[in-house]
């Protein structure tokens, strides 16, 4: 997750209308997230809505400009399947 945040910053910082990064899910999965968030420059929008009810997840997955799921290891990768089914763009 910290790598995703840093990668997002590097990718969008110079763009005229930088897209926001929305990190969905409960906290506590990675100790480095807060430190990475603290390094996000002003002007970029990063939101952490926390745990989302499942009835809100399709809208989040389908409405995102890009869904990034840079997983280090997946037993199956169900979020990828769900996002594809929600019409997520590659």
């Amino acid at each position: 997750m910290p790598n995703l945040i840093r990668g997002w910053v590097a990718a969008v910082a110079q763009r005229p209308n930088p897209p926001a990064l929305v990190i969905a899910g409960g906290r506590g999965w990675d100790d480095g997230v807060d430190a990475a968030i603290a390094s996000v420059p002003t002007g970029l929008v990063l939101r952490r809505p926390g745990y989302l009810p499942l009835d809100q997840v399709p809208a989040l997955l389908g409405g995102a400009e890009v869904l990034a799921y840079p997983s280090l290891g997946e037993g199956f990768g169900l979020p990828v399947l769900e996002a594809m089914a929600c019409g997520q763009r590659c």
Binding site: R6, G7, W8, G75, A85
Partner: protein, 404 residues
Amino acid sequence: MLTTRRLSCPEVGGDAVAYTEPDAESIAVALRELLDDSGSREAGRGRARPGGRIHLAALRAPARRGLRKGGSMTALTVVTVTYSPVRRWPSSWTRWRKRRAARSTSFADNVRSTARSTPRAPPRRAGRPTGGNVGYGGRSNIGVAASSGEFVVIVNPDVVWEPGSPRRAARRSDPLAAGRLAGSVDQDTGRHGLSVGAGAAFARTRHRPRAVRVVVALEPVTASYRRERGDLGEGPNRLLSGSCLLVRRARSTPSPASIRPTSCTSRRRPRRAAGQGRLAERVRADRGRRPYRWTRDGRDPARMAVEHHRSAWIYLASRYPGRRWAPLRWVPARRAQGRSLLARRVRSVAQGGARSGANSPLAVVIRRGSAIGIVGHAAHDEGDHGAGDEAVHVAPDRPPIRLR
């Protein structure tokens, strides 16, 4: 969509998603490319959703309420997502006909090769080649969209569905009241004696402070999980989530959320990461000899061998960094790399490995007495049908699901 080529992600995403390495620089490069290329994103969107107005999400309260009220859950349709060439389908059709496991079966070819002709399908079987790898999600959508019936089982071709499995699944699902539908095939519970989902243990550990993790890591479940994930995969691999999904076609749900597969059978969603499918009791993932009679038809052995070893090597490299773990990391990794190279170049190596069980793709065997997770707050039918008949009641006032 952007993901990594780790473990099962490439199989799920296929060519419909973009890939990156998990380091920050690679992610930045990949994000820039995606953001700058709207055409590619739109094209990917089309590949990801070829089935049209079908969405996948977890079964939630509306579906449960629907089950309580009664519905048209009278038969199951099976959608098999396969990577086998079209010419191999007839043998698969024959097997499913012998199994008589479901009312109809739809085979979905998900290989890159294009088929000039589709073999003639037996009654109530249908094959639908895509001519490209649209990933598991895209392929599932096509199969589900082309199928009929309210309830559909999306299953890998190497899952052997024994007679009696649905009934046993229903029996085991009794404690999970309120119409909860079962999901994927379970992990094996025999080797390490796991009693709870290993994924749950893993998640639980990660929530603890670092100092506590050392202690928690010694508990049997977490230790088993780590042993399992640390295994290069030459033995049984029990991370089988997704091998079998039961989905409900929620016709009353407004588009685009029209299909809702269950994503977990644990009691709480956070456990779903790797501890899915707790309903199945004795499902076994096997690399033995006999299962590959099934697997060779279901998957390309060379491709799966390469992907398997590649993912195992990546996992070891990231999981065990530093000099201390170098022997664990590099000795099996080199062995896996060598085999992957051979399997990629010499097809007989992969196939030979499959037969010997040493270098083979995953096969799932559900033995008699085991179960694919199925159903709800179900009373199941014990005596009204003949021996071997499969009929599962989901409610006393509703017709049973007949699988023959």
